[in-house]
């Protein structure tokens, strides 16, 4: 471990500005989530509500609650969106990361990589999502996958697989192949060597990738919007529904759902941070 470097004054100022730019929106969302309707749009802006309230959170699950403040409610509770987001994101993340893990090991260890490999793997990401959304909707409606979790999960896996493969490949690439080869020599089959040596040694990378893919799926909006009608719902889609024609945008309720949506990411992030550190392979090979 090296001593942390002392920052110069300029570096400290730049970091401080960056930090404020990053954290201010989060501060604002959290504050809005606990503001009563009268404070949402107040001018001049109210930074810290004088009477914090949980009415916005209550409204998420009981749409009529907000009427006590004389504001028109929304028709639908956010419950289905929360459940839908969990089903779609967790399943798609697990599938994407497990398929990506074996693809990554295969590409890193057994494929003849050319300079085109990254392009081929990542090419799907070079389309503007809206451009592929339309054909997907047409195809999915023909095969009956619109408005189903199966369809949404399939798309999420397809979209995130290049990322999970590519990220995991870089972690496998960093691991000297001789370590798993030693296990093969010691008596393990190729598959067993990967399962018992390669995968445990890229644990940190695996957690980091899972986190990253989960964030992508959790926050995906476009495909969830165009593929959902009445059976499926996700948090990002629900967030958009608080822009109502009759009562304007329900900023406070929207912010409350956003805060709820942030919570799992913060919790997972906290538990994952110790695994993010590199250096698992330190000392394995002669430098």
């Amino acid at each position: 471990m090296t001593e942390p470097k002392k920052l110069t004054r300029l570096q400290a100022i730049i970091l401080l500005v960056a930090l404020i730019l990053t954290l201010f929106p989060i501060f604002w969302i959290v504050m809005t989530a606990i503001k009563p309707p009268t404070d949402w749009n107040a001018s001049p802006a109210i930074w810290i509500p004088s009477e914090p309230t949980l009415i916005n959170f209550k409204t998420l699950f009981d749409p009529d609650a907000i009427r006590a403040y004389g504001v028109g409610g929304v028709s639908q509770a956010a419950t289905s969106a929360v459940i839908g987001s969990i089903i779609a994101s967790v399943t798609a993340t697990l599938l994407s990361v497990s398929i990506g893990l074996f693809s990554a090991i295969g590409i890193s260890r057994y494929a003849k990589n050319s300079k085109w490999t990254p392009l081929v793997i990542l090419s799907g990401r070079m389309f503007i999502p809206a451009a592929i959304a339309v054909p997907f909707v047409i195809i999915f409606s023909n095969i009956g996958l619109t408005d189903t979790y199966t369809g949404l999960i399939a798309i999420y896996v397809a979209i995130t697989l290049p990322f999970s493969t590519w990220m995991l490949k870089s972690f496998v690439d960093d691991l000297p192949r001789e370590i798993e080869e030693a296990a093969m020599i010691d008596g393990k089959s190729r598959l067993a060597a990967h399962l018992t040596v390669t995968i445990p040694l890229i644990k940190g990378g695996l957690f980091a990738t899972t986190m990253f893919i989960f964030i992508l799926n959790w926050s995906e909006f476009l495909f969830a919007l165009v593929l959902s009608y009445s059976n499926i719902n996700t948090i990002p889609v629900q967030l958009a529904k608080y822009v109502t024609a009759t009562a304007g945008t329900l900023y406070g309720v929207q912010a409350a759902l956003a805060v709820l949506a942030m919570l799992p990411l913060i919790v997972v992030g906290y538990f994952i941070q110790s695994h993010l550190a590199r250096g698992m392979t330190f000392g394995a090979i002669k430098q």
Binding site: E178, E181, A182, D186, G283, A284, K286
Partner: protein, 372 residues
């Protein structure tokens, strides 16, 4: 494993015309050799000669582009490493970073399902031989280079395979331990009656431990011989230069016209070696004379001597290497250090060939040894 077919005369390992290409680059070209049972055979070659590639193909970690590998007479092509009955030590060691020294060494036995008490006994036995008893409960990250190397060696030696493949097993040890361990390795091999194939770029190590040396050069086997023969009769100029210190003298030679014809090099005029006169005369590419520094000495001028100016003295303890230059080139001469203490650079010395029969001759272009 078909042990019934083993016979004493059958080689433990047979490599048949292995070729290995990586894209356009050819790493091994028609490599063929056998390793006799119960022997310590050394693959000797500079970095990039193909030693590691050869070992990886034998162990099954890489497949050859063409050719076959036979272990105890059985073609192991297409078999996974675990089914080939080989132990291997990697040149970068490849210890399991998350396992203690003990578990690293015990791993092959744990996979085989050997009873715990026997594992313990065998690991401690190996640890004693390799002087690593104290570090068995430490993780590789906390070990020194030499300690890691001995753990890796232990992980290979704990097993009882058809053949041990050791890729530069002593490279990162300090000199004292290296010499100690190499004789230990030699003793282990003799006592166990097992077959060892050891790759090294260090000719000292090869000469010290090998029964047979396989000399690899740019992916080709150029010579398979006993260490002494390799030193005395190298088949190629590059082999002669690779083996031995101080560096062998390679001096351009020619046959002087006249009766009787003479061999001329570095200002010497010597009788032609009778068994080689035809070969030398036929060498259309010209030829080089190879002469080890210990076969030259400083003497008083006579008809059999050459002269040159002393340009450098390199002390090596009991001996010194003199570098003498004349119009024909430079030659290194190994002398007793005491005789040349305080010798002055720039003085002219008379030089003679001590053992004319030890002179070597190489084709001027191909570098191959010229034989009678």
């Amino acid at each position: 494993m078909n042990r019934q077919t083993e016979t004493a005369s059958e080689p433990c390992l047979e490599i048949r015309n292995i070729r290995k290409s990586f894209g356009k680059a050819t790493a091994l070209q028609d490599v063929a050799f056998t390793v006799p049972r119960n022997s310590l055979t050394v693959l000797l070659g500079a970095a990039g000669a193909g030693k590691t590639t050869t070992l990886r193909i034998i162990s099954g970690l890489d497949e050859p582009t063409s050719g076959s590998v036979l272990i105890n007479g059985r073609d192991v092509g297409g078999l996974e490493p675990k089914d080939r009955d080989v132990a291997m030590m990697f040149d970068n060691l490849a210890l399991y970073p998350n396992k203690s020294g003990y578990l690293n060494i015990a791993n092959p036995l744990l996979i085989q399902g050997v009873p715990e008490t026997e594992i313990r006994e065998r690991v401690l036995g190996i640890a004693e031989t390799l002087h690593i008893g104290r570090i068995l409960d430490r993780l590789p990250g906390t070990m020194s280079g030499g300690e890691k190397q001995r753990i890796a060696l232990g992980r290979a030696l704990i097993r009882n395979p058809a053949i041990f493949l050791l890729d530069e097993p002593l490279s990162s040890l300090d000199a004292k331990l290296r010499i100690e361990l190499r004789s230990e390795l030699r003793r282990l091999q003799k006592e166990s009656g097992k077959t060892f194939l050891l790759a090294t770029p260090d000719y000292h190590e090869a000469l010290a431990v090998a029964d047979t040396v396989i000399m690899l050069q740019s992916g080709e086997v150029v010579q398979v011989d006993s260490p002494q023969t390799l030193y005395d009769r190298p088949a190629h100029r590059l082999t002669a230069e690779f083996i031995g210190s101080p560096l062998i003298n390679i001096l351009q030679g020619r046959i002087s016209p006249g009766e009787p014809a003479k061999l001329e090099f570095f200002g010497f005029r010597l009788p032609l070696p009778p068994n080689l006169s035809t070969a030398l005369a036929a060498a259309s590419n010209g030829f080089d004379v190879g002469l080890r520094p210990e076969n030259l000495s400083v003497t008083t001028p006579s008809s059999a001597t050459s002269q040159g100016e002393l340009v450098d003295i390199e002390p090596l303890g009991p001996r010194s290497v003199l570098t003498v230059r004349n119009d024909f080139g430079e030659a290194r001469i190994l002398v007793a250090a005491a005789d040349f203490q305080g010798a002055e650079i720039g003085t002219t010395l008379a030089v003679k060939v001590d053992h004319p029969e030890k002179m070597l001759f190489f084709d001027g272009i191909t570098g191959r040894s010229l034989k009678g």
